[in-house]
């Protein structure tokens, strides 16, 4: 059997394509996973506070910049990012920026104990059945979402966040609103 001309060309082209694909793959970070929620309206939720002092409804916060941080006490990177969250919370305490913590996949007792230990002053909420986690397309804590005054998700950060990224994300949304 000799290879026909078509087969020769096909083999060469296929191998070239394979090489290019593999070379391109180097640019890819398999841990950087985008989800479908950026640029879309933030999924609505009403969640109870961990300390049992009532509930928070996202819809009530329309017109404000909202930062939603997903966390858990069993998540090591969450403890790493917490000081940055605390500082940013203090900085915007008296402003139209609202910070919300959503606690996932643990008992409320554990979540509340962690919140008190870590000095988290902002509203921390219990997502007992994981519905909010799933509607935001969260992979695992920590994850932080930036929601604009119009209720659109403008930004998302996977993994531990630092102060600069937080402030930049917030200021971008505040600036946007004032220019309107």
């Amino acid at each position: 059997m000799t290879l026909s001309r078509v087969a020769r060309v096909a083999v060469v082209v296929a191998l070239l394509a394979l090489t290019v694909t593999l070379a391109l793959a180097f640019r890819r970070d398999p841990h950087d996973i985008k989800t479908g929620t950026i640029g879309k309206p933030a999924p609505a939720f009403t969640l109870q506070r961990l300390d049992g002092s009532g509930e928070v409804k996202l819809a009530d916060l329309a017109g404000k910049v909202v930062v939603v941080n997903f966390f858990a006490s069993w998540c090591l990177p969450c403890t790493q990012e917490n000081p940055a969250l605390v500082r940013v919370y203090e900085r915007y305490r008296v402003s139209d920026v609202v910070m919300l913590g959503v606690n996932l996949q643990e008992s409320r007792e554990n979540g509340l104990a962690y919140v008190q230990r870590m000095g988290m002053g902002w509203a921390t909420l219990a997502d007992d059945d994981g519905r909010v986690v799933l509607s935001y397309g969260v992979f695992g804590p920590p994850e932080t979402f930036f929601i604009g005054r119009d209720g659109i998700i403008e930004g998302r950060h996977i993994g531990p966040i630092d102060e600069e990224t937080l402030v930049n994300g917030i200021e971008k949304l505040r600036g946007q609103a004032s220019s309107r």
Partner: protein, 153 residues
């Protein structure tokens, strides 16, 4: 019994069993939950489906699917809800409707090309195969091999 009759009966039985196995039947709610969760990728696992994973996230996703099934949502509606949050990434099998469904053409194309090539090679030799040995020739061959084997012990 005649060999051909036996073959015919066996083939009929086989066809009946296969037809029975392939019959369309209404899925129960649990079967539908399994079917849907088997297609969803567990976000915190390494390529496992929501059905197979024992992680908290997967359990919550199974609960959500179960609730949606009991609410009467269709499979497509439930899938759409997860796709809205996680993108196409959440589906373990790319949807045929989007361009990523092109991957389904791969096996079809390879099989098609391979079969065309293979049958082409066969047709090239479609000339009657006069060389096929008769039973007596085969018997002669068997005897010769046996003789030679016996000769070496």
């Amino acid at each position: 019994m005649n060999g051909r009759v036996l073959i015919a009966i066996a083939l009929l039985a086989l066809a009946a069993v296969i037809a029975f196995a392939a019959r369309p039947h209404e899925l129960t709610a649990d079967e539908r939950i399994d079917q849907i969760t088997a297609e969803l990728r567990c976000p915190v696992c390494q390529g496992l489906s929501v059905k197979d994973s024992s992680s908290d996230t997967a359990r919550q996703m199974r609960d959500l699917v179960a609730q949606r099934v009991h609410e009467g949502k269709t499979n497509a509606e439930i899938q759409a809800e997860f796709r809205a949050a996680y993108g196409d990434w959440i589906l373990l099998s790319p949807p045929v409707t989007s361009w990523s469904g092109l991957i389904w053409l791969v096996p079809v194309a390879v099989l098609g090309a391979g079969l065309i090539f293979a049958t082409g090679r066969l047709r090239a030799s479609a000339a009657p195969n006069a060389d096929e040995p008769s039973p007596s020739q085969i018997a002669a061959l068997r005897e010769r091999v046996a003789r030679e084997e016996a000769a070496e012990g």
